[in-house]
Symmetry: D3
Subunit: 298 residues, 6 copies
């Protein structure tokens, strides 16, 4: 089970301008084959499914714990998309004014028809995330190799979306996730090393471009975020220390486990979009609602 | 963000006999259109996406909080599937003995080829869960109506899977989820009532068969589990009390909010299946691994 | 637009025994790539889309008119499936009696979980029909060639399902649809002949096995059903006579257009399945419903 | 079975300018999850599948009858798309002139490659409609709740597409379908009320923006179109009067059943697009075709 | 089995300008329902699956041999896409310079995120090619009819993409494939004629626009390429001469079989795109790689 | 381009008994995510797409050359399926005898309805192979890591199918492909080693069960097949020797490149299945066909 708290992992500034096509591109990092839905669900299912875990506890703990962090990543990407879409059409309650005219050429029409300018579990072409992206073979070595590859593929996608967008919101999110995804790459490399003796860390970085070339990522690495594996549990997953230790394979800094999740930041307020009846339309029965609202919110 | 702890919501007995086709049927409740992946992801995305939440806080809190409970539901269903599959083929390390012969006629071949007799995010026909199952219109009234319908549809599926399987594991899980899903039905009914004044509770039960006809569910209702909305957060989602209050629409009992998740139960140990190299195959480099294991586990 | 009347095209006897796997096989003829959903939707869209129809009226009339007949074919196949599923599980209102136990090994689990032992727009593997099966190029010659091929492919599927099942219901439906599908094959062959001068009828039968080898089809041919093109409209589609004329390419009999649809037969009653809460469950509020029912049905 | 007649439900003016991206957006209302293909097919399958219909005739009649109206809705949306695409590329028979150059940036490339600037059963992102969008549980209360939700979701989509496009064709279609879809919302609300006693009409409008804010819809409501349920059958579905009666929940006007479909309008002529060889290309064997045409059309 | 040699079938000039949206359109000819993946895989599977081939050898040889040519067609289309994408974003190794900014509005985002400006097995909307596009009924007459239709549909798509793009690369590829696809149309027409006696060639061209209207295709026909069926095997498929003979149905020229594949052309060099880390990123461990490279390439 | 020759890579004995469910399981190795369609298409597209290949020739040669071998693997798996299905229903030309009755319970109904007891590009649940399974990032290190992982995943699937089936045909195929797939695993490990210096071979075997435990594979290893990389080209791909050299990582034997493909074996004759009209039905116009056949085959 989980408990949830209303903080997001990265401080997201508002973009200077809305950008529907940037939002469409960022969707790849949410609902694409290598998006955060995939990392979240791969590790979640592998943790539910882990056979013989008592004998292999550190590996179980690692996978289960990283799964928990990934929830915060689908959250951060979703808020980025939501901020990029906020205000992207003309606000108002008169539909005849064609308030969504600008949306006609946007790459992802679902953002304006299916959702109220909001994130959806689809990729950058609007194709839905699906369960065939989850790999859970039960063989530990193979699952770890998969996870190592998945994180490297996810990193390649982040790099390319980074190169497409330059708004502050996306770049803040990307600077954070490049570093945290980098932690997961190293974690699975270390796990494979423990299991097989092969020094997987020497393969890094994959693709062969360092996080240090991304200013927003470098800032996070300067704060040491690439060295920390958070333990996302009050009492469990303590054996991750058996895997997450020793020097970082890229810069040799000491790896450390930090108990508890990062403190996080308040999620950004998302403004109403009345033209999309989000959250309410102009004809909510106002008298009745006033009474109710008084009770509920008063 | 979330934190995770290693308890599952329901105490799952081991089935007397493995049953691959029961496992295949139960998959509908995990990866089907009305499975727990759908409830989890619908509410998760609606919570990330909630516009104007400061004005509508009790509704946001309700959706975000129920999302957190649903994680425990995909977990409970996954463990059920895993227990039903455990031992369903002949254990051993000699592949030439055709240990998976019995799997040849099983309805879900992915359980034996893609996974190591483990749960996957697919439905009862093996079709993957996909993101088109997520509805997030941004309009509060419509999203609540959707959620109310989704829970009723999910209940219908649970009822029918209940009628297909009679092993203790599935029935324990179903007895629990019928009641907890019932709580979510009432919660969305109450939310719609607050918003519109319509007494949605009078529609219940949908389908028109009471939980009390299911012995394992009745047992949970006798313990009052249908009256409790757990608050799955250390500090947030406190305004669910504004919606979850008053009498239960079916039996008139008083609704109560309980702070914190249920205590839960230890997840069942899942035995290794060496014929599936899960978690290890017979040729792991044993000398090297012994050294490592000593360090890791010693 | 259409009007609808409650007759089905073929007299469907009840099967001696329910047969879930026969129902699963027959689904291919409903929701498969070559099922009746495909013929219905291909011709429907081609008729909506027909450019320059004033100059090419007989071809438009032919396609639009056959589309109308196809509605009756999805209906006939659906009723066949419904009859094969009726009574296939143990009736009753006690879920704890595991009334759907027998469904556990059925090939199509959707029949028992998603539907109440009822037809769905999916194929024999449970994969949903989808719009990529619709071909509408706008080029008349190519669309006609497509339609000719589609009907031949549909005929191959019908032949093979015929060879899988021997219940009276399926065979009655198949004996009818083999003949009516045969009419559509000839119609598109004639249309191509009018347009190009090529004697497509000499290609028949495709596959190279005559309808006369199927006793239930031969019976319908003996009644002349293979010679008749019904005009499914009170006033329109009159120019089909310009295409549907001359000798039948296989037996030389004279082709005739008959105004109006066939008279048809009463659709079979479909028994309730209370264990599936279809149409009602045991806990419908009986007092209230009695009052309503009196008003509605009294 | 059905009969078909060549009238469309709404008088569609030609748009002042073709608009491929408007056509792409309108596709959501045809082949999207909440498009008219979904309403048509949901009710069609529910009507084929209705168990125990003799006891529940008014509900059966309602669903079967609304299904028949929906055919006219896929037709009206398809013609809208076709008109928006007509003339959207440079007409001519010389392919080397790159007549489709403007199509290169259009959002839906299928309109120009797969079809001849024509409607297809796909959504606004080009994803095909599929049968998983059909819900047919067999439980009457649940199916009615689904239908009520489906119509509300469809209404939200229509509202948003309305806000994206301002051409006369789309707006005429939308003004009509908002009202007719509104009739279906009320019809399912009334049906649920009859079955359960809950006043579902008080939930309306969903989303909470009245049809009266849409000038083209208001015009149709002024003509009373929101009060009429057409009976789309010569002799059947007479018991819809048991459900469709009393006051309209939004404006209190009296609900009435009108026998027979609306009179309708001539479908618009769709011009040939020779650059797309639609319906003919420049090399049809003209001598032969002249002879044939004389016979066929002369 | 096959052997492979590094020549492509058509001499591809470089485009004057990169064009991501032209590349997106050309994808339809690679991964669309009627793309070269479909022709390749249909004939490949039909050849593996051919029952009774000893009795029907010329037909088997024809299908198996055309399959081999189709490999060269997916190759030619892929290189066209690759050339159209080469240089379409700003080259460099600094991600912070937003080198992919121009890609934000491109229709196919996968080209920039999933691939390094490279071809993928998807269609013009980015939907993946899938195995449901393969038809292999086992009935020879029906399979040949399918193949004849498939090639005509593929021709329609090529014509339309030709009309969308005017760069030299695409047009060279299209001029070649229109002619070679035309050969396959005639080949399947001849095969049907041998099997049934029907003169299918008289249906041509489908769509009814001659290859001679396409300057780049006419050039290839002037060189006689429409008359030649290459035998893509050192020793097999000799009986294609039994089918590929007599006059060409459109211009009456003599059909000839040529032993061996065409000589072909060197595949174009594809420039690195360092901003996409393709093939290497800036941080490959250069000291180590220098040593290795000396060994590998020195 | 390719040339093709009619030999298959492995000598396939006929199975003692047909086995539709074994055929259904083996489909995973053809059309599954980790099936041979995936290996074929991944390497084929990566070879078309390889940027900067002149500088990285040995890697290009390796990928392009392995792609060529994979064609022989989809062929070998397809023939295995075809042999398992041959004779699996009652032969004859009378459809009324229900010759396909036994197929009603088979797991893959497409084998009997869509195909004539023949292989299709679908997986073990009947879901079609699709292009989203192709990974082609353009970054060499990442693509090689993907290929290494893909081959390991494919190996896991082969192991598990091996454990499900015990017929001689499947086992002969599997014994061969385990070894040849093993060659590809080593090849990509070596390539990564050349590029990065990491000794990937020490990770093997993945899963951790040696090929030597599979009698049919061990037989092939005893013949040295695991040491040989065939060069599938008359003149190209010569630089594979720069990567394929040194000791085998599992048994230390010397790796060797052999010019040209293996000699191969005659493909098995596939008997006609007249009940499926494969290849002909009983009503082929025999007089006409006799004449033609004399010309064609005489």
């Amino acid at each position: 089970m989980i408990t949830r708290f209303d903080k997001i992992a990265v401080d997201l500034p508002r973009p200077k301008h809305p950008s529907p096509n940037a939002a469409a591109a960022v969707q790849e990092l949410l609902g694409g084959k290598f998006g955060e839905m995939s990392t979240l669900m791969n590790y979640t299912f592998q943790s539910f499914n882990f056979r013989g875990r008592n004998q292999m506890r550190p590996f179980y703990d690692l996978i289960a714990n990283i799964a928990a962090e990934e929830f915060g990543h689908i959250e951060a990407v979703s808020y980025t998309i939501n901020l990029l879409l906020t205000g992207s059409t003309k606000r108002g309650t008169d539909p005849a004014a064609t308030p969504l005219a600008d949306a006609l050429d946007a790459r992802n029409s679902y953002h304006f028809i299916a959702s109220g300018q909001q994130a959806l579990p689809v990729d950058s072409q609007g194709n839905p995330w699906n369960g065939s992206y989850v790999f859970s073979s039960g063989n530990l070595k193979l699952d770890l190799l998969h996870n190592f590859f998945l994180e490297c593929g996810a990193r390649a996608n982040k790099i390319r979306v980074y190169e497409m967008v330059d708004d502050d919101t996306s770049r803040a999110m990307l600077g954070y996730l490049l570093v945290r995804g980098g932690v997961h790459i190293v974690a699975y490399a270390k796990a494979l090393e423990k299991l097989t003796g092969v020094d997987m860390g020497k393969l890094l970085p994959i693709p062969d471009i360092s996080n240090k070339r991304f200013p927003e990522a470098r800032k996070n690495e300067d704060r040491g975020l690439h060295r920390i594996l958070y333990r996302f549990s009050p009492d469990d997953y303590r054996k991750i220390t058996e895997i997450w230790n020793g020097p970082h394979p890229e810069d040799g800094s000491e790896l450390i486990v930090q108990d508890g999740p990062p403190e996080g930041f308040d999620p950004p307020d998302l403004d109403p979009e009345p033209q999309l009846t989000s959250p309410l339309g102009p004809d909510i029965d106002s008298e009745m609602f006033k009474d109710i609202a008084k009770k509920l919110f008063g």
